[in-house]
Symmetry: C2
Subunit: 598 residues, 2 copies
């Protein structure tokens, strides 16, 4: 059976020693959650994740979700109690506004804890994750009445949320949408149509489900500019605001999926369901993007989370499994064989996982702080800069951490040999679960296109220039730091490749947009390499400083950070050249064949 231990010490190192969490006490909630309090919160999150969530993960995969004849959906037996512990612990509202019952702590702390819950049971966290996204959309675009009507119950977790975008014939291209909204003459709308792939669309863990549904209002223009967003509760609220009569929305069927079996992925049928416009008419995508950006960061976190738990189990197995002898001679001559962790090729997997996961965690948390700044920083310039950061890095976090997370889950499974392929050890589940994160909330090819086609040029390239400047200055400032030189050297090489690729895109992407498209996935991964490399340079610097100051029992921990950073620079950063070479190749050979030739 798989196990999980939340990496609290690693999170604290990143937040406290690398990112200087305490420096942000001018932001709401930070002062209430730093130091011992931060440690206590993360410790408690770790406990719930390890003791309550994790034991339900494998069983959830085996049981799956079932639609009953009456259209209700039964989730895995153990899920409700685990979710109860989560909401009763106040985890739903950790970073939600106090006025609606939340605890008002930083989003950063929510993300830090979120990693643990998701590592422990990814399918289960989707019920709360989508609720968080729906709350965010209502908070930003809802009326005061909508906020006070829906948000408190959602923050309690007694009601959950969903996002309804996809239809059978349209996923990425939402302008093709057919779901209709007809005014009912009483200020509401009647929503009709079919939505597919709706996570947590119907289930038995909450008293009401608040669907956020994209639909085209009667008389609205064709295409994406005629799409509006509606709140459609499963149960229409009575005069006291309690769930009353059943609304015209129901689950038509449940998808048979490769993984996340514990998540009920529904076909949702809307048949004149009562819905309430949220935000402006025909500006539905605008409102939905609040939810989508939140969800994309959440999905990037899923990539990291599954990668981490898969890695941990591979490491445990590699320490336990006796097979063969070390190439340099027996390490445990008294045993029949050495544990396979003595083999370099097993180490290659484990070190790759650490190098990606530890930097991925830093990237998530660094960006979470930027998200907090963008929401509530006191200085307008700082908020703008943080918004730029989020716009630029959101597709990178989503695309790169989920691609890498899947790769690492596959590598971790490989450590188990044949035992990884049978379901019993749970490694197959990690691979099958991790796979969806590359697809949903915008397939990773779409993330790459968002980065290259929209985010790079936004505000005249302000965001990307600021990123280059920050990384470049870090290298420059530490030029005379000899201990850091091997790291800044690798980082600088990656940055140069990224800047060359950016220049190439500027020169060739305008001329022929296919050149930008042809470069997009490589560019996103090249960006990710540099962003993760920057995280390593900063982590190594922090570790070196801690060691110099007397690491106080954490010497090995800090030395391991430095070694893992070195592994990253030696073995992962060199991929930047291949990405640049591919980008420079342009679109010609990619686009030359006729469609019929494939």
């Amino acid at each position: 059976m798989p196990t999980y231990q939340a990496p609290v010490k690693d999170t604290l190192f990143v937040l406290n020693d690398v990112l200087g969490f305490e420096r942000y006490s001018n932001l709401p909630g930070f002062a209430d959650s730093s130091g011992d309090m931060l440690e206590a919160i993360l410790g408690e999150a770790a406990r719930v994740a390890e003791e309550v969530y994790q034991p339900t993960n494998r069983q959830g995969d085996l049981e799956g979700c079932h639609r009953n004849a009456d259209g209700s959906v039964t989730t895995p037996k153990s899920f409700k109690a685990a979710f109860d512990a989560y909401r009763e612990g106040g985890w739903m509202g950790l970073a939600m506004p106090g006025e609606y019952g939340g605890q008002g702590l930083p989003y950063t702390v929510h993300q830090a804890a979120g990693e643990y819950f998701c590592s422990a049971n990814m399918a289960l966290t989707m019920y709360s994750g989508l609720t968080h996204g729906a709350i965010a959309a209502i908070l930003v675009h809802g009326t005061d009445e909508q906020k006070s009507t829906f948000i408190p119950k959602m923050i309690e977790g007694t009601w959950t949320g969903t996002m309804n975008l996809t239809e059978p014939h349209c996923g990425t291209d939402l302008g093709l949408m057919r779901t209709k909204a007809v005014p009912d003459g009483k200020g509401a709308y009647k929503i009709s149509g079919q939505k597919i792939f709706i996570s947590a669309g119907e289930h038995d863990m909450s008293e009401n489900i608040i669907h956020l549904v994209l639909a085209r209002a009667e008389g609205s223009p064709e295409g994406i500019k005629g799409v509006s967003l509606f709140i459609v509760p499963k149960f229409i609220l009575d005069e006291n605001g309690n769930p009353g009569k059943r609304n015209g929305v129901s689950c038509g069927s449940i998808e048979e999926k490769m993984g996340i079996h514990g998540n009920s992925t529904c076909v949702m049928n809307y048949d004149e369901a009562e819905g309430y416009l949220i935000g402006e008419i025909n500006r539905g995508m605008n409102a939905m993007f609040v939810m989508m950006n939140e969800a994309r960061l959440g999905v990037g976190l899923q990539g990291l989370s599954v990668s981490e738990v898969a890695y941990q189990n591979a490491a445990n197995y590699a320490r336990d499994r006796l097979q063969g002898r070390a190439l340099t001679g027996p390490k445990f001559p008294d045993k029949k064989a050495d544990p396979i962790i003595v083999h370099p090729d097993i180490r290659r997997v484990l070190m790759t996982a650490r190098a990606i996961n530890e930097a991925g965690r830093a990237l998530v948390l660094w960006s979470a702080i930027q998200a907090d700044i963008s929401r509530s920083g006191p200085d307008e310039k700082e908020r703008e800069r943080a918004e730029d950061h989020m716009a630029l890095l959101t597709p990178v976090i989503k695309g790169v951490l989920t691609d890498k997370g899947f790769d690492i889950a596959v590598m971790a499974q490989q450590v188990f040999g044949g035992h990884g392929y049978i379901e019993e050890h749970g490694m197959s589940q990690f691979v099958r679960d991790a796979r969806i994160a590359m697809i949903y909330e915008g397939a990773n090819g779409i993330q790459a296109l968002d980065l290259v086609g929209r985010k790079l040029g936004q505000h005249g390239g302000r965001g990307v220039q600021a990123f280059f400047k920050e990384v470049g200055e870090f290298c420059e400032e530490n030029r005379s730091n000899e201990a850091l030189a091997p790291f800044t050297k690798g980082l600088k090489k990656g940055l140069n490749d990224l800047q060359a690729a950016t220049m190439w895109l500027m020169q060739n992407g305008m001329k022929n947009p296919d050149n930008a498209g042809a470069a997009s996935t490589d560019y996103m991964h090249l960006f990710g390499l540099v962003a993760l490399g920057y995280m390593w340079a900063r982590m190594v610097k922090a570790a070196q400083e801690k060691l110099a100051a007397g690491a106080d029992g954490s010497e090995e921990f800090m030395n391991n950070k430095i070694t893992t950073g070195r592994f990253y620079m030696e073995r992962i950063m060199p991929e930047s050249s291949a990405h640049l070479a591919r980008i420079n190749a342009g679109a010609d050979s990619m686009m030359a064949l006729s469609a019929e030739a494939f």
Copy 2:
């Protein structure tokens, strides 16, 4: 529902135009299977694969195999009839010796056709594939009586075969084996023990199952040098050579696996089962290696096969799915959207798949010809050279084509977006099936170690030197061929990197074997890049020559080969630098952490 069309034209191009199949008419069977006959054989294989095998694939995944209370195993309903068509068509014995009822055609033709069957239904081909391996072991190491007793029925396909190596506590390290063999005083042995992960271990598609079982004879030394190979039939043969009394071997349970559900993967219990020594006592690994090498080439072929069928379905979907508009403006303005094949990032996936699959097919077939030469070439020097080729390339074919095959199946699934994640479209099955090929018959890390630790140095590096010489000479000979220059240039760069890596290994691998282990997976993939690149250079040259000679209706086909070769050189070959950089980094940062730190 997934579809499949066997790439007969591509196979014929490789065999006839690139490899010069007709030149080998001095080898047995080649003259009987060239020209029109080759086309007819492959056409018929394609028909059986497309019409008989493929329609059973998805259903086989859904149904899986079931062990009944009496220990018998029921395979998917449609499998028996499909397997009947295969054996009645004579496909089992295509390349088997005529004296035992085979058709005596080249192994090359068997491999060419084998790709189609495996693309159509990988799980089903495992029943015949393991039988082929068992036949090969008996042919090489069996007594005349063993051959005449078992082989004819196996070639008919009325009896099938298995290989029994793995035990719960030992997979790679077979020296730890506990299964025992006690002489019964009548010339046979009583075999007792448990084997796991036995593909086709028990099923309902043949009249008898011939297990080849590794066990330790009583009194034999500990470790790998005390292991012998035994033939253990499910039913002991009666005096007429027909299946008689049930032997003491039974299926204890069936594994729940991530994929290849149609294959019955069994825990096999041996309880004083009657077994017959094959080959010399304590030389079981020697005998098993015949089977294992055959199986490794078969598994490499599985990588290619699943990659090809996954690619075909992604290409079809990309042509059909309307979503969004081309970056360069609408291509089908009359439709609501363009098919997604207009998008460069979709093309990236499809072209990558073509570039790997077409070169992978060439590598498999080039090596199959070498296998034919090594078995029956008239010239001793040529046989030796072909044996060197097989020793060197077998781990590359197994490791690289299965890693790449899985990657491409994942990319092909990605083309489907959310529709790829639900089981309905069959793309998840390709990913789940492809995954095992990286694991069984020696996990790919073991292939890499076999290449670096054993094959490179064999006969003083004779094999690798010959490979370098051949590829180098190809570049040299074509130096003045301007049309080929972009291809030989890329190939030469890859070869230089590979030679530098080989040199590094010679200098640093001896000094510290961990350096060799740390380099092994990268070295294997670097080798694969160059081997596939060499195939592309040869394919491009052949296509250019065909075009120059008047390609006779195949102009587009030949031009597409050249374009795909260009894509390979521009976008895949550049990975060689990253591999070399990783190899040069050595083992230090990989091995530095204590086992407890993970």
